[in-house]
Symmetry: C2
Subunit: 304 residues, 2 copies
C-alpha cells in the first residue's frame, strides 16, 4: 500500500480513540432494498453519544440535524436552546459504515467491482451505486447529528481515494485529520471509486478501516492477545486460518450473490491485518449490550 | 489565490465545454424551507441532457438513478435495457448549484459564515448546514442521473477545499479532473468549509465557479465583449461598477437576511472576475428558452 505524501506529512493533533464500524446488516434491513433499520440506527447513535460525548444524558442532547421533518414546514425548535449551553466536547472517533441493502444491488447488477467504465451498464451502475451509498451515508450522518454528535459525511470518492487493481493506492487522509482536529466526527462509507488498472471498483468499508487504522491508532507494543485474535492465525503474507476452536472440517464462508465487497471473509481478513498491528478489534452486533461493553472496555483501556 | 501543487501539476485530458451554475432560486422554492422545485429541476435536467448527451432524445434516455422510488419495493426496470445499448457519450461539463432554501437557514441562524467553531451553536450549525446542502446535492445528482447524465456529487468540504479569511486557499481539483477524464459530470455545491483564520465559513457556489474557470476554461484571446460585460466596468483590483445603461442614481442590491453567500452582488462580482478572463458568462433563468439559447450559443461557438 502506497501512501500519498500529503497524508504522510500531516499528523493529527487530536488522538483518535477508536474507529467504529457500523455493519450494513446492523443499520439497514439487509433483505429489503434500500431500507434503513430506523430503530437500530437510533439505538446505535444513542450508544455512540453515551460513549463519546462527554457529560451526555438523553435529557441534554442538542440535535445538530436541523432539517425539516416529514410533514412539517418548520425547522426543529431545538436551535433556540443552544445559546444557554456550555461547550460540550466529544472524544475523537471515526465512523465507517457498510452498505447493507444500499449500493450492493446497483454494483452487483452492473459489475462495478469488476471495472470497465466504457460499458454503459458499468458507468450507469457506478453513478447508481454512488447515489445509493451516499443517500445511506446522509441518513446515518443525520441520525448521529440528532444525538448531538458533530458528524460530517465524507465520501472516499470525493476525498480522492482510488485503487490500482482493487488495492488502495491513493488515500489522502489530510481532510479526515482536519475534520478530527476541528472537533468533527468523520462518517465514511464503502464507495464506488476509480481504479488505475480496471477503471473502477468498489472500495469496501473494511478496507477503509484498515487504512485509517494505520494512521490513527497506535496499539500498545506488548499486549496479551485479544479474544478474537487467539482464534485466528495470521501468516506473514497476510493470510489467516482459524486455529481455535479446533475444527474437524474446513470452514466455509458463504457470500451473498449481491455482496460485492466479499462478505465475512473480507471482514475477517481486514480484521486480521489490523490485529497484526496489536490493535484491539471487536466484532459485535451493533445496538446491543455487547457493543456497549466493547465501547466501555475500549474506554477503560483508553484512560489507563 | 494560492493553488495546491497537486492541482497545478495535473491537466485534464478532456476539454470542459462549460460550467453550468444552477441558481438556488431556480431549483428550489426559495421561500419554502428545504423544498425542491421538482418541475423546474426536471426541466433543467432534461435541457442539460439535450445539450450535452450526444444523440439524446427523450425516448432513449437510460436512467442512472436506480434507487427505490417512494411507495415501491422494487428497483426501476430500466436496468434491463442497458445490455442492448451502444456506448452513449456526453460532452464534458461541470454543474455547480446554489443552496436556495437549503442550508441558508441553518448557516444564518448559527453564523457559520462568521466562524468560531468553539461555540456550540456554530459547530452544530456547521453540521446542520452540511446535512442540508448535501441532501439538496443528492437530489440534483439523482435528477440529472434520471436523465442519463453520469452525474457524481462532490462536496467541496470532502474534496479538501478550505479558505483563509473567507478567501479560497486550498482547492485541490485533481479529483474533479479525474472525474471528468473518466466521463463523469461533477456536481458541486456551496458548502460549509474550514477556514484557516476564522475556523469555518461558507464557500459559495459562485466562488467555486470562478475557481473552476481558472483551471478548465480557456477563453479566446481576442473576442468582442459579451452582452453582459458591456454593462459592467471591472477595475484592475477586481472591483466593478455598472456603466451601461447609464443611471442617475447608484444601484442598490438587496441581500436577503438569510442569504449568507452575498446574493446578487457576489454573483456579479464573481461573474466579472470570470469575464476578465475573456470567458463568456451568461446569466439566465434556468429551465427557460433563454437557458436553452445560452447553451446552444455556447455549443455553436464550441464547434467553430
Amino acid at each position: 500500500m502506497e501512501h500519498n505524501k500529503t497524508s504522510a506529512a500531516i499528523s493529527p493533533t487530536k488522538r483518535v480513540r477508536c474507529i467504529v464500524k457500523l455493519g450494513g446488516a446492523a443499520i439497514t434491513c439487509k433483505i429489503k432494498l434500500e431500507t434503513i433499520d430506523e430503530e437500530n440506527l437510533k439505538e446505535v447513535s444513542s450508544q455512540l453519544r453515551q460513549a463519546f460525548v462527554l457529560d451526555s444524558t438523553s435529557a441534554n442532547v442538542l440535535g445538530m440535524d436541523w432539517s425539516k421533518r416529514p410533514g412539517q414546514s418548520e425547522v426543529p425548535s431545538i436551535i433556540n436552546d443552544f445559546s444557554d449551553q456550555p461547550v460540550a466536547d466529544s472524544e475523537s472517533f471515526i465512523v465507517v459504515h457498510g452498505a447493507g441493502s444500499f449500493g450492493h444491488f446497483q454494483s452487483s447488477k452492473s459489475g462495478v467491482h469488476k471495472g470497465g467504465l466504457s460499458r454503459p451498464l458499468v458507468k450507469a451502475g457506478f453513478v447508481a451505486t454512488r447515489i445509493s451509498v451516499t443517500s445511506l451515508n446522509l441518513e446515518i450522518v443525520r441520525a448521529l447529528a440528532r444525538e448531538g454528535i458533530p458528524s460530517i459525511g465524507m465520501s472516499p470518492f470525493s476525498c480522492g481515494w482510488s485503487t490500482r487493481q482493487r488495492n488502495m493506492t491513493e488515500a489522502d487522509i489530510s481532510m479526515v485529520i482536519k475534520a478530527i482536529d476541528t472537533g468533527f466526527v468523520p462518517v465514511m462509507h464503502g464507495d464506488a471509486v476509480l481504479d488505475a488498472l480496471q477503471e473502477c471498483t468498489i472500495l469496501s468499508g473494511d478496507v477503509i478501516i484498515r487504512h485509517l487504522v494505520h494512521f490513527f491508532l497506535r496499539g500498545p507494543p506488548v499486549e496479551p492477545a485479544a479474544v478474537l485474535i487467539r482464534e485466528i492465525a495470521v501468516r506473514e503474507d497476510g493470510s489467516w486460518s482459524v486455529v481455535k476452536p479446533k475444527l474437524e472440517d474446513t470452514i466455509e464462508f458463504t457470500v451473498a450473490a449481491h455482496d460485492t465487497t466479499g462478505g465475512m471473509v473480507t471482514k475477517i481478513t481486514e480484521a486480521a491485518m489490523i490485529a497484526k498491528l496489536v490493535i484491539d478489534v471487536y466484532i459485535t452486533k451493533a445496538g446491543t449490550d455487547h457493543s456497549v461493553k466493547a465501547l466501555s472496555w475500549n474506554l477503560e483501556r483508553w484512560h489507563t
